[in-house]
Amino acid sequence: MMRYVRDPALWLTTLVVLVAGVWPLITRSATTREDMFLILMFVTLASSLNIVLGYTGYVNFGHIVFFGLGGYIGFYLIAEKGWHVIPAALAASLGVVLFAAILGGIILRLRGAYFALATIGVNEAVRSFIVNWDAVGGAVGMEMNFSRYQDYGGPMNALWFAYILLLIVTLASVLLSYFVRTSKFGLGLLAIREDEDAALVLGIPAPKAKTIAFALSAIFPAIVGTLFFFKNGNIEPGDAFRLHMSVEGIVMIMLGGYGTVMGPVVGAATYERLRGFLLTSPLFKNLQLAFAGVLLLLIIIFVPSGVVGWLRNRFPKVRRILA
């Protein structure tokens, strides 16, 4: 335990998320809050994905399925069953973790490109299934009655409430990532990433470890899904299972630093800010996607270890504070 308390990297990580996340609460600005909501959301998605992608080395293009399914379960419980958002989010998380554990047990047998392709298939299969499922609104999705927000003291308060919950979730998700990274379990995951067969021979129960990592990576996206669609007041399959968002998550991880705790945080924040800037700049507005593409290409070719990875390699001294 003392080992953690004394670790400056833990404190730095917590502090960064906390300071940035509390900012909108101080300024009381709704626009800052909306901007920050997206950033925190992506920090959570990227951090959790990093457990599978960065630590275990499995390229998951379907991470967003956890977000989408969680969103659907949570939203359904809130909008149709009148649940409070907290128990709804927890139930969503539980359901999705179960789903991930079962799915992981099946598809983590695949390696390399086969795994990556299978995750695309799973995301698309689930999305097209939901599109056809009338009980959850099919292709049009579901809307929430505005009066639902009354339970939280009106829409304005509900949005702030959702934001605070998201901040807590983001913090929890970054901490989870930290504890996994610095644990014996995490070391086992890294070994799997480097060479799974060698890891097996060294004594790592890879099938179990991978499945646990996969399930852990599903906990928080499911909650974030519930919060996001609760805030929006509606949900539809196109928004919930956007393959593109999974890939954006991967881009953020690469940008910040694959396999590090801080990497996804830095990457998500940078990417989101950059996108916000590009979207509002008249010059790049229409070219933002292309611009992001060029950026991604440059990173992969020239700084494959990302910002944090690069710092860690370049200045070994910062390793102590930058996990």
Partner: protein, 284 residues
Amino acid sequence: MDVLLASLVDGLLIGFVYGLAAMGLTLIFGVMDVVNLSHGALIALGMFGVYLLFTGLGLNPYLGLLIVLVLGIILGMILYAIAIHPLLDGPHLSTLLSTFAVSMIIIGVGTMLFTSTPRNIDINLGSMVLGPVRLQGTRVVAALVAILVATGLYIFMYRTHVGKSIRAVANNRDAAELVGIPSVRILAFSFGLGTMLAMVSGGLIATLFPFSILSGGTYELKSFVICVLGGLGNPTGALLGGLILGLIEGLIPVFMPVGWTPVIEFTLFVLIILIRPSGILGAR
């Protein structure tokens, strides 16, 4: 019964085009172990290539295809140099991301130039009646062109020196290098061929359905399904996989709402990867 037959034949015809697209994807995977995530964007590029030549220069779409074919090979080789070659020896995540980046660039620029409003190429080749089945001319021609290109590719791969070198590199790059095959040039050219196949099939699809710069995604996913059906890396399998997918797409609407087609396709996709990763044709 007639409905079923018509639907099946229709599916089969489109299946050839799907198969052609998937051949591009599977060829690249087979030769260099790269899953090309810019495949869909390249398909869309092919669509717009034919479309622009048609609306801008009044060029017949099938002649336009010829130009797209040449441009495809050149573009593919350029893409290889930029986005594949520097990363070939890295983890496979790098090329997944670099090809995805290429896709973002193509779609980003494409959206700016062409917006995302649907277009279509207005040609009508009438229709022909075969027994109880009425076939649309454009579909028959598209299928024929696809067969032509696939046959051409087949002959190229098995009869020419370059084609044989490609197969040698696909088999074992190091061994190929040892016997003096310039593997870098071969890899670049293979990527060119894969790109060409994507773009040509895109051009063909453009003569059949309305499309936008974003349409490629759907066909990319179909190509994945087909490649897995036929065995990743196996071009002949891809053609067959295309036919199977075409048949499934023709068949499903007869029995259930069209909306279920993707559910069945993707479930099948995941199941096949799990149970027979070498494809339904492949040896175990």
